[in-house]
Symmetry: C2
Subunit: 343 residues, 2 copies
DNA sequence: ACTGTTTTCCAAAGCGCTTTGATAGCCGCA
DNA sequence: TGCGGCTATCAAAGCGCTTTGGAAAACAGT
């Protein structure tokens, strides 16, 4: 059933039917009602491509997710982020199209998405510390919101980010206040902006307290359970092992706990742990007293906010780009305790 | 830059330019070359909505992902599944649109996707044991492939599934052969078809060996780390605790290990564990000798295969629906061992 | 030179919608 | 009665592409 058929059936013109359905005022209420009823009866929904052609709007939004071919890893954060966005989109009538793109052909794919015109705007995931995509997109003139930031960008652009540096500064400070001096960091890949900032926060807290930064306690990599396990295992073999660690994701924290269990150590007593917690739905760390002490920032909410920002940009072009910086909550759980007395 | 402009620039008609770019034979090779060069020079890419309108094809595929509002959980399997599909789609020129839909308005959303015409086909995730969506979609006449199966469906439909029943039958049999008699099961929600079949496989293996099925050892729920933890903790408190458990996902298995560590027990010695392993990228269980003994079936490959099936259905309508049943590998890891001697 | 093929290109219709500009019909007011 | 100003509706153009049905040009065969 299409507009033409519906109009014929009603004995009206396409114009009137279209207007009735789209809420324009120049149609009598009785007529509008009649049209709406018929539309419902025949399950009429306007063809989205035709509508897009006519209006110049695609009514869909693209999420561009980088996939490193080498690691074949999709950051599990995306699933929750998208869940957050999705609800906002469907309320506003947008579709969500996902584009996994490999390291190499990033710019080509952006250009393509733009030229093909199948999205009205983009969400950019996983910005690197230095990320050419952003300048490129800005030149392309398509609205976009970055989840995270890139550090060295000349132009202004819209982003939503967590205050990674402060979160890790606070977490490290907490550990220091508990008496810890040997504090490890198991981070994401530090070419990624978020991981770099977390590292800075960690290093800054140590520096503020005059604690030297020991490279033997620094690890970075894809945030898998295995990374946490290996890093912790290696650190425990050191002559002077850490009494506390900071981890960049709950998945890493699970690996850390695993290594500690293997070594017969108890989390929160022998070694303290503070993790960042994206509040992923299947890795909830939300008991009355959570298992892990954590800096928590629900990524699902980031997704919803980013979606709202982007829709605003699309629907009111010409506004200056918005920036949202969210603070993480520091949640006390059972994985932290005072530093054990040496010996 | 659009077709018209490109054609004018080249001094050709739109027809010829269109044909040149789409590989039709009735255009001179020299002309084609000239057109292609110009297209590249101006970054011309045909507007996908206009193309869709003209051809009646959307060149995009929808993934419908059920979200239970109650649990607010997105199964992490989807991320990897989609990664597998995505590559196939982009090679074949399709876009991927994602539709998270809540329990209630399933059918409405399918109908909408169909009427709006923004997808050529659908992948249906998370089928329930009894799932009205499938009959509904079949009536709608839109090509679709189900990831998993529903049990009681009259009509024939395309699906790709793992042999859940056999996998869990084999896993349970392995444990029985190792001397275990008290074997727990921590499963997904058993209204879901895959979980129901796993339960059947487990129960069948016990029955084959004349071992009674103890309801105290049966758990089912959203497959989170917490489910594994709580279930195992509870089972360890039983008068006659299990010496082995089967889990439906590695995330559950992590929770089980956690509970065991808390109880001071060693995996593979005190209690054996076999998990199903979807081979998720950030929870790899792939050491030389894997941590967990597991039934492994890489969900990313399921995604790719499903995508290929669906594209075949779209491009050759009228063929009978394909079915793919994959066997899981049984991988021996360090989490299994002979049943401990009683006492 | 004349016809029949083949090659190469083109004009125009059509996909399903929105939107502009026009047209009736009706009201009130002089 | 006639005219301006509304209201409710419509016809038609246009969005950017594909594709049908020609037609001109080039070529081949007699």
């Amino acid at each position: 059933m299409n507009l033409k058929q519906l109009a014929e059936h009603l004995g009206l013109s396409q114009t009137t039917v279209s207007r009735a359905l789209n809420g324009y005022p120049e149609v009598r209420e009785a007529t509008r009602k009649r049209v709406q009823d018929a539309a419902r009866e025949f399950n009429y929904a306007p063809n989205v491509r035709a509508k897009g052609l006519a209006t110049g709007r695609a009514m869909s939004i693209g999420h561009v997710i980088p996939v490193s071919k080498k690691h074949e890893i999709v950051n599990p954060v995306f699933a929750d982020f998208i869940t957050g966005s999705s609800e906002v989109y469907s309320k506003a009538g947008y579709d969500l199209v996902i584009s996994l793109v490999e390291d190499g052909d990033q710019e080509q794919r952006y250009r393509e998405l733009h030229a093909k015109g199948n999205v009205d705007g983009l969400i950019v995931h996983g910005p690197m510390r230095v990320d050419s995509r952003i300048e490129f997109l800005a030149e392309l003139g398509m609205p976009f919101v970055v989840h995270g930031r890139a550090s060295d960008i000349g132009s202004d652009y819209a982003w939503i980010d967590m205050n990674n540096r402060r979160a890790f500064h606070r977490a490290a400070t907490l550990l220091i206040e508990l008496g810890h001096r040997r504090i490890g960091l198991i981070n994401g890949i530090e070419a990624m902006d978020f991981a770099y900032r977390r590292r800075q926060g960690y290093a800054g807290a140590l520096e503020d307290c005059g604690i030297p930064c020991d490279p033997d306690l620094l690890f970075a990599g894809e945030m898998t359970e295995n990374l946490g396990f290996c890093a912790m295992r290696d650190m425990l073999l050191l002559d002077d092992p850490p009494t506390a660690v900071l981890t960049s994701s709950i998945i890493i924290a699970l690996g850390v706990r695993h290594a500690m269990d293997d070594a017969g150590l108890v989390l929160g007593r022998d070694v303290s742990l503070v993790s960042h917690d994206d509040d992923l739905s299947y890795l909830r760390n939300r008991a009355d007293v959570p298992v892990f002490t954590a800096t928590r920032s629900p990524v699902r909410e980031h997704g919803a906010t980013a979606a709202e920002m982007l829709i605003r940009m699309i629907e009111n072009p010409g506004q200056p780009p918005e920036h949202v910086l969210l603070e993480a909550d520091l949640i006390l759980g059972r994985s932290t305790g005072p530093a054990p007395r040496p010996g």
